[in-house]
Symmetry: D2
Subunit: 206 residues, 4 copies
C-alpha cells in the first residue's frame, strides 16, 4: 500500500457518481408528494403541533440537520433520542427517514406514533417497505439502498453492528439532505420572512 500522492481516481469517480445521482433527483421526486409533505408541515406549524424527527445512523444525522432548520423557522421540533424530547400525541407529525424503509427503530417509532394518533411522513426509497405501509404519507427519495430483508436490523443497529461498508446508502442520505434543505427553502418562502422572524422572536424571547 503506497501512501504517496496519487491521481485521486476513486475520489473523483465517487464525486461524479454522487453529483450525477443528485442531478437526477429533481426529476425523480414527485411534485405532489413533496407538496403534500410541505402542507402537512405547515399545518403542524399553524396549529403548534410537534414535528418529531427519527432516523438511524447517517439518516438520523440528516434528520437532525433538518430539525435544526425547522427550529430556526419556529417549529416545535424534536429529535428522537435526545434528552428533552417530549411525548407526542394526536396530529403531531413524525418525519421518519429510512432508505430501506425497514430500519427497525424507525418502523417501531412510526408504529408508536400511529397508536397515539400522530401522523407519519415516511422518507424512503421503497414504497412497499414496512415504513411506507404504516405511513400517512410517503415521499420516495431514490437511492440504491437494498430492500434488505433485515429481520434483526434493529438489534444490529442499536448494538452498533453496522455494515462493514455501505457506500450505497450514501446516495439516499445525500439526496435526502438536499431534498430536506429544499423543503426548508419552500417553508421559508411560504411562511414569509417577516412572519418567520415574528414567530422566531415569539418562540425564543417572548
Amino acid at each position: 500500500m503506497s501512501l504517496g500522492s496519487q491521481n485521486l481516481k476513486a475520489f473523483y469517480s465517487a464525486m461524479d457518481e454522487i453529483l450525477s445521482f443528485l442531478k437526477d433527483l429533481k426529476e425523480k421526486l414527485s411534485n405532489s408528494e413533496v407538496d403534500k409533505m410541505i402542507g402537512m408541515l405547515l399545518e403542524a406549524w399553524g396549529w403548534g403541533k410537534i414535528v418529531l424527527v427519527v432516523g438511524a445512523g447517517r439518516s438520523g444525522l440528516v434528520g437532525r440537520a433538518f430539525a435544526m432548520r425547522l427550529m430556526h423557522l419556529g417549529f416545535r421540533t424534536y429529535v428522537v433520542g435526545e434528552t428533552i424530547t417530549p411525548a407526542i400525541g394526536p396530529n403531531d407529525v413524525l418525519v421518519a427517514i429510512s432508505g430501506s424503509g425497514s430500519t427497525a427503530i424507525v418502523v417501531t417509532a412510526a408504529e408508536a406514533a400511529k397508536k397515539v394518533g400522530a401522523k407519519v411522513i415516511a422518507i424512503t426509497s421503497f414504497r412497499d417497505s414496512p415504513l411506507a405501509k404504516i405511513a400517512d404519507h410517503v415521499v420516495v427519495v431514490p437511492g440504491r439502498t437494498k430492500t434488505a430483508v433485515e429481520q434483526d436490523y434493529f438489534s444490529r443497529q442499536i448494538l452498533g453492528i453496522h455494515e462493514p461498508l455501505a457506500p450505497l446508502g450514501t446516495l439516499f442520505e445525500l439526496g435526502t439532505a438536499v431534498f430536506l434543505d429544499s423543503i426548508v427553502a419552500e417553508l421559508m418562502y411560504r411562511l414569509g420572512k417577516s412572519e418567520i422572524e415574528m414567530k422566531y422572536r415569539h418562540a425564543v424571547i417572548e
Copy 2:
C-alpha cells in the same frame, strides 16, 4: 400557588428518602454478584474486549457516566447510540441497565449481543425480568421500580412518551450511580495505579 419562600418540606423529605435508600443499598447488594461483575470487566480489560453500555432515559445517563470512567481506566468502552460505536462480537461485554428489566431497547440490545456471542451483565431490580433472563450475569440493584407489564414501553420510550412523573425510578438510578462508581474504585485498586497509567498512556498517546 405561592412562589414565595417556603420551608422546603418536600425537598428535605425527598433527600431523606434518597439517603435512607442509599444507606441500605450496601447491605442489599450481593457480594458475589458484584464480585463476578468485576471479574467479567477485568477479563474484558485483559483481553482487550469491548465493554458496551446501554440504558434508556436516565439509566442511560448513568451508564454513560460509568463508560467515561471505564475509558479513563483504559477500557475499550462504547455507548449504544453514539456516532462511533463499533460492532461487538464474541466475548465482548454488554452492560445493560434497566430498573424494570423490561425496557424494550435494552432487552433488544441484550438479545442481539447474545446472538453474536457477547456476554451480558444486567443491572436491574428484578431477577425475573426479561433482561435478567437473557443475561449471563445479573446484579440486582434495588429500587421501587414497578415490574411494569409495559407492552409497548419501547415504542413510548423512543417517541419520548415518558411517564408524566416517575420519581420512583430515581432511587434505582441514583443507587446504580453509586454502585457503579464503587465498581470503578475497585477496578482502579485491582488494576493498580501504575498499570492504569501505563495503559492510559498506551491507549491515548502511543
Copy 3:
C-alpha cells in the same frame, strides 16, 4: 494482577465514602440558597421562560437527568449541545453546573447568557470561582473538587483530554444528582399534582 475473587475492599470503602459524603450534604446545603433557586425555577415556569442546562463531562450528564425531570414537570427546558436547543433571551434561566466553577465551556455559556439578559444559577463547590462570580445566584454543593488553576481546561475538555482519573469529582457529581432530584420533588409539591398534569397535557398533546 489477579482477576480472581477478592474481598471488594476498595468497592466498599468507596461506597462508604460516598454515602458518608451524601449524608453530610443535607447539613451543608444552604436553606436560603436552595429556596431561592426553587423560586427562580418556578418563576421561569410561571412565565413560560426557558430553563437551559449546561455542564461538561459527568456534570453534564447530571444536568441532563435534571432537564428530563423538568420536562416531565412541564418546563420549557433544553440542554446545551443538543440539536434543537433554541436561543435564550431576557429572563430565561441558565442552570450551570461545574464543581470547580472554572470549566471553560460552562463559564463561557454563563457569560453569554448574562449578555442576552438571562439569569444564571451556578451550582458549584466554590463561591469564589469564575462561574460563581458571574452568576445571579449560587448554590454551593460541596465536593472535593480542586480549585483548579485550569487555564486551558476547556481546550482539554473539548478534545476529550480528561484527567486520567478524577474520583474526587465523583462526590460533587453524585451530590448534585441527589440535590437536583430533591429540587424536583419540591417543584412537584409546590406546583401541585393536578396542575402538573394539566400543564403536562397542555404542553404535550394540546
Copy 4:
C-alpha cells in the same frame, strides 16, 4: 398564508442552486489539498493514530457522518463531545470543520490539539480564517459563508443562539458532505477491500 398546494417555486429554486453549487465544487477543490489530506489520514490509519472530528451545529453533523465511515474503515476515530472520546496526543489528527473558520469551539479545539502535538486538518471556506492559520493543512471547500467577525460566536453557539436563518451555510455543509464521502471512496480504494475487511475484523472482533 395559504397552506394549499402551490407550485413549489422556492423548493425547486433552492434545489437548482444547491446542485449548481455542487457541480462547481469539483473544479474548485484543489487536487493537491485533497491529496495531502488523504495522505495524512492514511498515515494516521497506518500508525494506529486517532482521527478526532469536530464541528459545530450542522457542520458537526457532517463531521459525525464522516466519522461513522472512518470507523467502518477501521480507523480509530472519535467525535468531540461524545461520551467516550479519549485524549489525543502527538501525531493524532484533528479534522476541524467550520465554514467561516472562526467558530470558536472549533478554533479552540484546534489550538488545544496543536498544544499536545496533534496535527490539524482544517476544512473551511476561508484560507485566512483563524482556524486555517492554526491548521497544519487546509482544504478549502467553498460556500457562501460570511467571513463573520463573530467575536462571540462561540458563546452564542453553545447557548443555542443560532442565526435566525442561515441558508447560506447550507452550501458549505452539503459541499463538505459530498467532499468527505468522496474522500471515503478514495480511502477504500487505497486501503483495498481485503485489507479493509481484515482491519475491520481486527478492530471489532479480535
